[in-house]
Amino acid sequence: MVLDPQFVWNGIVVGSIISVSALGLTLIFGILNFINIAYGDYMATGAYLAFAVNAQMGLPLAVAIAAGVVGMAAGAVLIDKLVFEHFRTSSPVTLLIVSIGIAFFIRNLIRAIWGPSGNFYDVPIEANPNLFGVRYSVEQLSIIVASLLLLTAVYVLLRRTRIGIAMRAASDDRTLTRIRGVDTERLVLYVWIAGGAIAGLGGIMLGLDAQIRPNMGFTALIPIFAATILGGIGDPKGAVAGGFAIGILQEVSVVVVPSEYKFAVALAALIVGLLLRPDGLFGEATR
């Protein structure tokens, strides 16, 4: 069976989006130790903010992306101050349910402001260029470039900066970090900034690749969950690897699975991954 390089290319594009999004989710989990169901709606918010700046205010896409990313970072901090901060000592399950409430709020706020139907960014429509038999679009290229830039930036942040190193330590062992006198509240602030920004970018990438819809982030959550778990929940490196693995697997699977069911591949990977490797690809899960 010959593998069509087109599918691999598509997989890399989708994988970039999943990787970036899973990275944000896993960072938040690492520090705060709960699954944020509203994360998909953070992504959608980023996408809509960029849409407002780009298509509604007519500014260039680069400006819009910056606005969406910064806006969602600020939004994540705001939601933390308004809601999550009051639940710091609650159990992970309570936090998960709190995030359901937030998800309801955000998604319907988006619907109330921008309406329920789909939108597109204002980008020049060109015939898709072709390289070695692989069709690619400018949007797809931007997605891949943006994701590589982001992944590098986060890598440097986690490896080289004090706050990043503290974040990794906290993600490995929270109590230990607290004993060593790291200001956890400051860490929490930074992780919401980072997680919100990444969610915003992930949402914009998703909107570039397909459509901007109120439930776009939520429906994308499952492959993102799958990547996060496959990589070992709380492990950034694993989330990125898991994201590309799922993205490519999903797109390549259309060779054998009807394409309506390619999403089931993520699900299968999720279940198999959980049963075989509960600690993730690199066995570095926080739990």
């Binding site: 169901i37 809601v83 992970p92 998960l96 349910i97 359901i100 319907n108 999403f263």
Partner: protein
């Protein structure tokens, strides 16, 4: 009179949601299982009963469905309930050993897979199209009575809510529920005392899923026509909100929570005339659900009818 009709409709929806919440309360309230697949059990109940009770569609332009059985509604209701329970059992088998959050993600994903199948297997379900002409139980008999069909259906639904409430209360307060509660509190203790924890979790999952399936059948036979978009994960989340608001662990609470959620969603229907932002109303109501959910978790974590003392006893010593 119009108000009464409206109340009946809202009451029927509230009854269906109450059944869903009763099932969820067995999972979360009694057993401590994070089930995020409720929408799928609801859907399987609805589709099973619909497919079994409608005739094979005539070949037509859009009629892609090739199966239909034209069986009595009662058969459909029983089969829908049983099949949903079986699905609950199957989903639980793959994942019930997983820890809390993981279970949440796997069940949520499984539910989406079920919806994907319903959406794509048009030969069975009419796919993305609406599955129409689902018969209403005893419609001709009720027509001869001096009451409207909605009165009959209201009584039917709430009669079933009552029966389920009694049965689930008894299960929960009996020796079976005692084991579930022990599992909720601490798996290891239940194991050390010889309880087959996995088996009990599977049973809990199947029973709760079954009653959600029953809710699905009642829904399908009331609304005539169903389509996959009725079974989005947001149904699951609404039921979670109902159980938490009503008070996890309390079946009366589950019913109250379901009624609260339905009222929150439907309340603006009762406002006569045109209201500002009427287009946005349905979204604002769902935003309100989110706010109420978070507020309850903050101000009254045990919910309206939950047991604060139990929650307190559970946390006094830490883990």
């Amino acid at each position: 009179m119009a108000l009464l009709d409206l109340l009946l409709v809202v009451g029927i929806i509230a009854g269906v949601y109450s059944l869903l919440a009763i099932g969820m309360n067995m999972h979360w309230g009694d057993t401590g299982l994070l089930n995020f697949a409720h929408a799928a059990f609801f859907a399987v109940g609805a589709y099973t009963s619909a497919i079994l009770t409608t005739p094979t569609p005539e070949a037509g332009l859009l009629a892609e469905r090739v199966v239909g059985f034209d069986l009595p509604v009662a058969v459909g209701i029983v089969a829908g309930t049983v099949l949903a329970a079986v699905l609950g059992f199957v989903i639980a088998t793959t994942s019930v050993r997983l820890e809390g959050d993981y279970l949440a993600m796997v069940t949520l994903s499984s539910a989406e897979l079920v919806r994907l199948v319903i959406h794509n297997e048009a030969w069975l379900t009419t796919g993305a199209q609406t599955l129409k002409n689902i018969p209403r139980p005893m419609e001709s008999t009720v027509a001869t009575l001096p009451v409207s069909y909605d009165v009959f259906y209201f009584l039917l639904v709430w009669g079933l809510v009552g029966v389920c409430y009694l049965l689930f209360e008894r299960m929960s307060n009996g020796p079976f529920g005692r084991v579930l509660h022990a599992i909720r509190e601490n798996d290891d203790v239940a194991l050390a005392l010889g309880k087959d924890v996995t088996q009990f979790k599977l049973k809990s999952f199947a029973i709760g899923a079954g009653v959600a399936g029953l809710a699905g059948t009642l829904w399908a036979h009331y609304v005539y026509a169903i389509s996959p978009v009725m079974f989005l994960p947001s149904i699951t989340f609404l039921i979670w909100a109902a159980v938490i608001i009503g008070g996890a662990g309390s079946y009366a609470g589950a019913i109250v929570g379901a009624v609260v959620i339905v009222l929150l969603r439907q309340v603006t229907r009762f406002i006569p005339g045109s209201v500002p932002f009427s287009d946005q109303m349905s979204y604002l109501r769902l935003m309100l659900v989110g706010v109420v959910l978070v507020a309850v978790l903050y101000y009254r974590p045990e919910g309206l009818l939950g047991n604060a003392e139990r929650l307190q006893a559970g946390t006094s010593e830490g883990d």
